[in-house]
Symmetry: C2
Subunit: 346 residues, 2 copies
Amino acid sequence: MPGLLERYKDFLPITDKTPALSLHEGSTPLIHAPALSKLLDIELFLKYEGLNPTGSFKDRGMVMAVAKAVEDGADTVICASTGNTSAAAAAYAARSGLRCIVLIPDGNIALGKLAQAVAYGAQIVAINGNFDAALSLVQQISREHPIALVNSVNPYRLQGQKTAAFEIVDELGAAPDILALPVGNAGNISAYWMGFREYRTRGMTDTLPRMWGFQAAGAAPLARGLERVDNPETLATAIRIGAPASAHLAKAAVSESGGLFDMATDDEIMDAYFQIAREGVFCEPASATPVAGLLKLHAAGKLKPGSRVVAVLTGNGLKDPNNAMRGMAAPVAVGADMQSVLATIL
Amino acid sequence: MPGLLERYKDFLPITDKTPALSLHEGSTPLIHAPALSKLLDIELFLKYEGLNPTGSFKDRGMVMAVAKAVEDGADTVICASTGNTSAAAAAYAARSGLRCIVLIPDGNIALGKLAQAVAYGAQIVAINGNFDAALSLVQQISREHPIALVNSVNPYRLQGQKTAAFEIVDELGAAPDILALPVGNAGNISAYWMGFREYRTRGMTDTLPRMWGFQAAGAAPLARGLERVDNPETLATAIRIGAPASAHLAKAAVSESGGLFDMATDDEIMDAYFQIAREGVFCEPASATPVAGLLKLHAAGKLKPGSRVVAVLTGNGLKDPNNAMRGMAAPVAVGADMQSVLATIL
């Protein structure tokens, strides 16, 4: 399957001058989840975005944003990020021969989270300040220098991300009844909604899904109806955001589609994480949030039996594997003989 | 794209009773590497096996092995493994509703390496013994109990793995001139060779590639012409094997194809690892070994200009990200103002 810019060129802001950038992003599997479908009395599919080239859905938006940066003559891209965004930016910058600069807040940053960006050749710059200060700085720098900002305020990001909605319709033959996804900065739910609407306008689907956005309880401004949450806390680090940048777009998507916002606790998220893994699919904790939300709504009788639901798993479990081992003690070694082993396993 | 058992059913030992097991393995991208192609004066493609469902090429063999275990009535699969094999076995067992037991040697096992298998629900059993003792025990248990052994001695593993050769021919329209890949236990080089030969027999390609197998210098019995290497050592943990189980098959593949075995040092492997990442592709250190070997052979004038070469990248870089950070100091924070940041980056 070709990359997104080629596969969906008629739906993207591509000109004769846009480079044919690709790391074979997109075209990720839509995996039926038999055990969870039975448990929830619905037809559940998992859109496994972890199989994108850098391991998260961010590649969809980044291939578009970096291609446009090249088209516009930039020789450098910049972002403030400590996670998936920096990996995607660094990969596509490397592929394009551009420099990539990643600003990170000082203190408490696990360097391991930046291993991918470092491998792809990004320059990491720590500042004496918090994440908001880093974001403010990269915006200022991109305004005054020929350096392309590729944080989510870059509008090409959502253009690329909307292609995931196209793929779901292409594969199912129609939009699902419900699209459930994790909400952090709220850009992805907005991009999916844009994608479904555009596909309807072009006659590719007659119906639209209800958009169900799920947040972690410790970082749930939209689900709680708040403007912002100070000091957001959740082990689902990819959605640990207190003031979603695209809140207005996400609210519109939920309102226009007759959808909802809800939230799940960290315990509920980890329970869903293991249930998804038992289907054979390993995702980031944040990715388990929509399934946690579906389990909760089902228990409350709010999930219509027989609904066709797609839950978006935004990132690969290998991004953050340690959660799988939480609370697990090292196994106690048994004798290296058959009786000892059989006594343990049978 | 469907999973391998469906895509290549006419080439696999599939019967009416074989379950349609799939996590959408295979159909991994073949990525052209422009910078390395230029440097090596060849046409180089990277077969990026890290985008398989559990992050390595092991999924190809495991989907076949576990499907046959189900067909044969097993309710449990077992393997001795501390790495990619355990992840793949656990995922396909979970998907099939089978139990998965993973035997590991006691001592010095980083539990993090087992996070994936644990998430998928495998039972981890540590024994008071080394890896050879663990392997011997799982073989004995599978002979005497209805428990399917899914280590590489299971012949279905190579059957599934050979499909990667099919995909390369399907995409290029012919076999490449050279197939370069890392060699640890030596099963994969044997499986590729089987795949290319079968495809020629069926008329899908007129030519066969030369098989070039590369080992890490600290674990290179085949490249050194030795029976075995005691205490193998390399940071490329996925190929840290002193006595390859499929050595005889690998020797036949190299001999019949007019190929070669060679080796690369850990420094050469890490250099190649970063050069691959600069193409936008993040792989395990072991996966960089064939590219390290190609760089070495090019420097020695042994790489024919214009050759079409496929290097197999067996695993995802996210499996072992810490190598990207080796020797890297935490960045020193600069002032959170534009002048300080610009002074650092311009």
